[in-house]
């Protein structure tokens, strides 16, 4: 039982071999995007953060950028900076370089503006892509798999069909010694008692309670009923009535194995087993956070049909909604069918999904990758823009 991946100097295994063009700040996005559009084999990570924020958020942005850079799907990184932003380019470069992969930097103000930055960025990236192209895929056993899961544009089929299938695949990956990460803390509300029972020890159970309380307080602080925001208007149209109902259907995507720890948003996870990352449910922020943990692939369970991927972590779309399977066939990688009897007989679907994960890990492309859907991401922050 194995897959074909790219070995990295820090012992991690990538399933893609991209050069990441990472903006340190929103103001560098236009340059990063142009470089990535020009140089085949490179991908841009764009976001709205990096300046005029409180220290809590600046630390979160720095940590997230560092850990994105360390993701094993990137063979090398070019950091694109404006030059006057709050986050520190050199700090980010040094911390990514700890992984042993090549990391280069580019300053737009320093080099003399956009056109010169694009030209120099393309020159650097071209060399890095050629250097990376000699790295060959090797055989690794399944314990090297590190997989995330997300559900989005959920309807009732998510909780009934596609989330349990994702959970069954998660159980298999854990049982093969791999790493699995789930999150979306908002969608623990009303189901946290079940997750707390699955915590590896009382300290972890307490952490789960803490992140749920913190997330609920944020919603309560606004003095409104969260419904409409969570569950979303689309969730409600799809038959989900309350956040509790959405949560009870959502948590099954994390499978049934013990939860070994709870990590903060943007943390890197190097342990094996099942983990929770504290995170919001919205796609651009969630996908970034889970990519920063170091996962190679993200299973994305959708009811109504969420199309987006992520720049350098393949996003495998699964759906149990027959209408979505038909209408959004160009976005759904794998159809999950409800067995004729019982809801817990999704074990076969889980096994099929596990095989598909290994096929994609070994090089098969996802629909979002081929479409290039997923160019726009963001980093989760909690404070104001100042």
């Amino acid at each position: 039982m194995s897959f074909l991946g790219f070995p990295r100097p820090d012992g991690q295994v990538g399933i893609r071999n991209h050069i990441g063009i990472i903006s340190t700040v929103i103001c560098a996005n236009d340059v990063s995007l142009k470089i990535a559009q020009q140089i085949e084999g490179s991908v841009a990570f764009l976001h709205d953060q990096g300046c005029c924020q409180t220290p809590i958020d600046l630390n979160q942005v720095t940590k997230t950028l560092v850990n994105l850079g360390r993701n094993p799907n990137l063979a090398g990184v070019l950091l694109v900076s404006l030059g006057c932003e709050s986050v520190l380019l050199e700090e980010i470069r040094e911390k990514i370089a700890v992984s042993g992969k090549p990391v280069k930097t580019l300053g737009i103000q320093k080099i003399g503006g956009m056109l010169l930055a694009i030209a120099e960025g393309c020159r650097i990236t071209q060399e890095m892509v050629i250097e990376a192209s000699v790295i060959r895929r090797e055989t690794f056993d399944d314990s090297y798999l590190s997989i995330g899961v997300k559900c989005g544009a959920s309807d009732t089929t998510s909780g009934l069909i596609s989330n349990p299938a994702a959970g069954a695949a998660f159980d298999l990956i854990c049982d093969h010694g791999g790493t699995c990460v789930f999150g979306e803390t908002t969608e623990f509300l009303g189901a946290e008692h079940i997750l707390m029972r699955r915590a590896a020890n009382p300290r972890i159970a307490e952490k789960i309670q803490k992140i749920v309380t913190r997330m609920e307080k944020r919603a309560e602080m606004m003095g409104v009923d969260m419904r409409g925001g969570q569950p979303t208007t689309g969730n409600i149209k799809g038959g989900l009535t309350t956040i509790e109902e959405k949560s009870l259907g959502a948590i099954v995507k994390g499978g049934t194995r013990p939860i070994k720890d709870v990590y903060e948003y943007g943390d890197q996870i190097t342990e094996k087993g099942l983990f929770v990352m504290d995170s919001p449910g919205r796609e651009p922020e969630f996908l970034t956070g889970i990519a920063a943990t170091g996962v190679q692939l993200i299973i994305f369970s959708t009811g109504i049909g969420a199309p987006q991927g992520f720049p350098f972590v393949p996003v495998l779309k699964i759906s149990g909604n027959p209408q979505t399977q038909r209408c959004l066939a160009g976005h759904i990688d794998k159809v999950i069918e409800l067995p004729e009897k019982g809801t817990d007989s999704l074990a076969k679907a889980g096994q099929d999904l596990f095989e598909e994960i290994k096929a994609i890990a070994s090089g098969k492309k996802t629909k979002a990758e081929v479409l290039g859907y997923g160019q726009f991401s963001n980093i989760f922050t909690v404070g104001p823009v100042i």
């Binding site: 908002t186 919603a219 309560e220 799809g238 956040i243 009811g303």
Partner: protein
């Protein structure tokens, strides 16, 4: 393709989920609390939406997956469409838990 018309996930549940679009007046046969019962739908139930399989008095929990998903905001009869018009959430309620705004 889903062939079943409805699903009751846990025997404790007091709602069922429609796996196809169901019409008002349609009669479904289901085993509820170990007894074969007929449920006549009082409204149309769209695919993926819920209807009640038991009487749910106002203020009582609405149960799916064997867990509470909310509270009935009015009395819900057997066969009624169950959604945001008759179920309120107990969580994320800044409007009733003293928000700051």
């Amino acid at each position: 393709m889903i062939k079943r018309k409805i699903i009751i996930i846990n025997p404790k549940d007091n709602v069922a989920t429609a796996l196809v679009d169901l019409k008002a007046g349609e009669v479904l046969q289901e085993e509820i609390d170990g007894v074969k019962k007929e449920i006549k739908l009082n409204q149309d139930i769209p695919f993926g939406h819920k209807f009640s399989t038991k009487e749910i008095p106002a203020g009582s929990p609405v149960i799916k997956y064997g867990e509470t998903i909310g509270t009935a905001s009015m009395a819900i009869k057997i066969g009624d469409y169950v959604h945001i018009h008759n179920v309120k959430s107990n969580r994320g309620r800044g409007d009733i838990k003293g928000g700051v705004l």
